[in-house]
Symmetry: C2
Subunit: 323 residues, 2 copies
Amino acid sequence: MAEVSGKKWVLMVTAQTPTNIAVIKYWGKRDEKLILPINDSISVTLDPSHLCTTTTVAVSPDFTHDRMWLNGKEIPLSGGRYQNCLRELRARASEVEDEEKSSSAAGFACLVFSLAKPKNVKEDQSKLSSIARQGSGSACRSLYGGFVKWIMGKEKNGSDSVAVQLADEKHWNDLVIIIAVVSLRQNETSSTSGMLETVETSMLIQHRAKEVVPKRIIQMEEAIKNRGFPSFARLSCADSNQFHAVCLDTSPPIFYMNDTSHRIISCVEKWNRFEGTPQVAYTFDAGPKAVLISHNRKTAALLLQRLLFHFPPNSDTDLNSYW
Amino acid sequence: MAEVSGKKWVLMVTAQTPTNIAVIKYWGKRDEKLILPINDSISVTLDPSHLCTTTTVAVSPDFTHDRMWLNGKEIPLSGGRYQNCLRELRARASEVEDEEKSSSAAGFACLVFSLAKPKNVKEDQSKLSSIARQGSGSACRSLYGGFVKWIMGKEKNGSDSVAVQLADEKHWNDLVIIIAVVSLRQNETSSTSGMLETVETSMLIQHRAKEVVPKRIIQMEEAIKNRGFPSFARLSCADSNQFHAVCLDTSPPIFYMNDTSHRIISCVEKWNRFEGTPQVAYTFDAGPKAVLISHNRKTAALLLQRLLFHFPPNSDTDLNSYW
């Protein structure tokens, strides 16, 4: 592509990156700049044909500065996050002219992939994950399908804080994930400032990171390896709740769940207790969407029935119109 | 009173016991039967002329069995709690006939006081607190006015798990407490079963009890001694939030706060941040009532204004009609 002659060229590349759902949560950094976490985390990567981030990158020597549009709306690139990513990529770009400028979009993993493509970046996956991490920590887990562990690492420069695939997308493909949008309201607290405040003020977060999560990581890897749904579900639910517990233990407290989230949890907990063994796992991130992971297609169908019964689409407590 | 002759007598005693509001929370027992807590707690006793529990005890040799009415409704006395209290009291009663049976009402502190009266129980206050404790742990803190600490104690038999007064009701009497009833719905999880489940399943509760609370108790005693409102408020809010955090870390999770509680907290936090120093402290117990402690009468008036602005009495989000 570098052969394009003169200055009248635009190079465009489009990439799609899947979304990942953490089942052992990442919350808290030990290095704000390099984005190094205080604990390992594990996620499931969603099938990109169902849900993913699409990023198009256009590169041209005629562009005078970096610009970025998110869902059609231009957003400022002044934040350190984007600059970090762009700088890392530029530093690695070898075969495209120096004067060239580029811009990009949502989903840092996607950004990294897209940028890596036109610039012919020659990096192994774990190096890419380290670059994506510096844009948004959890993005690094989206570089693989299936089940992915983001290892916190020990090095000060973050070189060993990388994502590794625990199992590929075929290993446990009867799981069905349902995402219920509880509220369309934007979060009041971004995850970046939220986790910073938790690390600074919570008296429980270090105990979670050092004593609780390491054990859960081992148990979760085991559950994934053996496709042990009861253990997988218990660990996912407990870790989601503990993540929200340390948010609540933050000063001022952070609330990402609302009454509807609570009702969904109670509904799933009651069902699981009634059946004697978990049918569905729930996990909630830094926002009011419920992620429900069911054992198989049959339980997924039953789950949808229950959700529609408890949250009928036209009632006041409709999941979408709750707020 | 023991001189009443024959069998045709009824002895009635009415006692009033104040309500106490924990600012460092009691959550979790190390002994379910003796009701021995896993950490110290500190409370403020409300002025009994404003809010208290009234208990009338009637004793007669004609009564064939124990009966109890709570708010006019008879409730079963079969629970171990009531029996413990009654047994303790009977064991201590010396000057009234053996065949006498007695019954009682809500507020175990009140029960103990009332029962202690007709039976001429000769006990010091800390012994009484130990009896009240066995009915409902936190009740022991209501036996004193002002600020009260319930010392967890070390003894296996609970003899040193008693309430002591930190400061009397005159020490810091410009504090004004406002109680906002967020919901009239009964709690789904009683505090008895809730704290048992937390101790059994939360990975954070022991860290709270052993590492966090002991330091907070010292800081809170200091704040009370010096009437240091900023420190008092910060500790109260942080401990309330941490108590709800360990409830959320319980499996299945326990939710005592709802969206309205969250809105009240956000409202107070924003106000406190705007003023640069805390004006109001909030604390929430095992139910959806908000307890708001303001620095003085002036901030209490401003607080009421704000509450009425954010929760207008006739709107849908009225504190009382929320559910």
